[in-house]
Amino acid sequence: MRILIVDDDYVTRAKLKAILSDHGDCDAAPNGELALSMLEDALNDAHPYDLVTMDVDMPGMSGEEVVREIRRREWNWAKRMSRPVVEAKVLMVTVRRDSQTVIASFRRGCEGYLAKPVTPEKLRAALAKLECEEPVSEA
């Protein structure tokens, strides 16, 4: 499984990587703009990301804007290549817990929502809900 971690906070990036590296190959981006570029490269290399963890409150593009843009680019890529749409599963990982943010995130195209602080148990539960793969070591 290929995983892209998007968060402007280095502690969160490090923690997610520590936990998720058992589930697949992890890349990380500190902002939405870089994440989109990495996602586009992965699509063009025909090796797309399976899971994206996305912070909401970041400088520049917000997580919600990035998710909407991810979906747009996935659809454009499929149309351009005449292939089926390949959608990465997006898990929002944020300190924001207000209903407005949660609803907006799902409307923009995320599939899961996890409130910080991240713990291995919470993350594993969220991955199970997303039907993501079992840890590599247990496969």
Binding site: D7, D8, D9, Y10, V11, T12, A14, K15, A18, I19, D22, D55, D57, P59, T94, V95, R97, D98, S99, V102, F106, E111, G112, Y113, L114, A115, K116, P117, V118, T119, P120, K122, A125, A126, K129, L130
Partner: protein, 158 residues
């Protein structure tokens, strides 16, 4: 295949939605006070063992992240003070938000709670609450610094 959105919201987030959804604009931020009461009962500014567990045993990584957090918060306090002095609520909110998630993920709960108070106060433009939050934040930063220094001393002696 996409599943219904509601079933995928993690319980921890879902249970808090109704509480926060009830708050109205311009009302005083409530949750940090409750968090503060909880945080004050803790003796340590950070649960280091739990952090190591949550980072799946990577103790050296936790140590280095703690050092980096302390360095960054040291400079950040000046930025928070300046923003508050200038009624620059957006900078105040953004700076506090930067530390909130990182501190929480490092199990430095009291510092995270203080950052949350500043962030929410800035969002609603509450000066008194923001000042209190900043004082609390500075105290928790000092406690965390002492905690880290004590750990370093202990490691050197061992």
């Amino acid at each position: 295949m996409k599943t219904s959105s509601n079933s995928l919201i993690h319980d921890d987030a879902a249970t808090t939605i109704s509480d926060e959804g009830a708050s109205t604009p311009h009302s005083a931020p409530q949750s940090p006070e409750n968090d503060r009461a909880a945080a004050d009962t803790q003796t340590a500014p950070m649960d280091f063992d739990r952090a190591v567990d949550e980072f799946l045993g990577k103790g050296a990584l936790v140590e280095s992240l703690l050092d980096r957090l302390l360095e960054e918060v040291e400079t950040q306090i000046g930025a928070l003070q300046t923003a508050l002095m200038n009624d620059d609520w957006e900078t105040l909110r953004r700076e506090a938000h930067k530390t909130r998630g990182g501190a929480a993920n490092l199990t430095a709960a009291p510092l995270a709670c203080a950052a949350e108070q500043i962030e929410l106060s800035a969002e609603f433009g509450h000066r008194i609450s923001a000042e209190e939050g900043l004082n609390w934040f500075e105290q928790e930063f000092e406690r965390l610094k002492q905690f880290a220094a004590a750990r370093h001393t202990k490691r050197t002696e061992a």
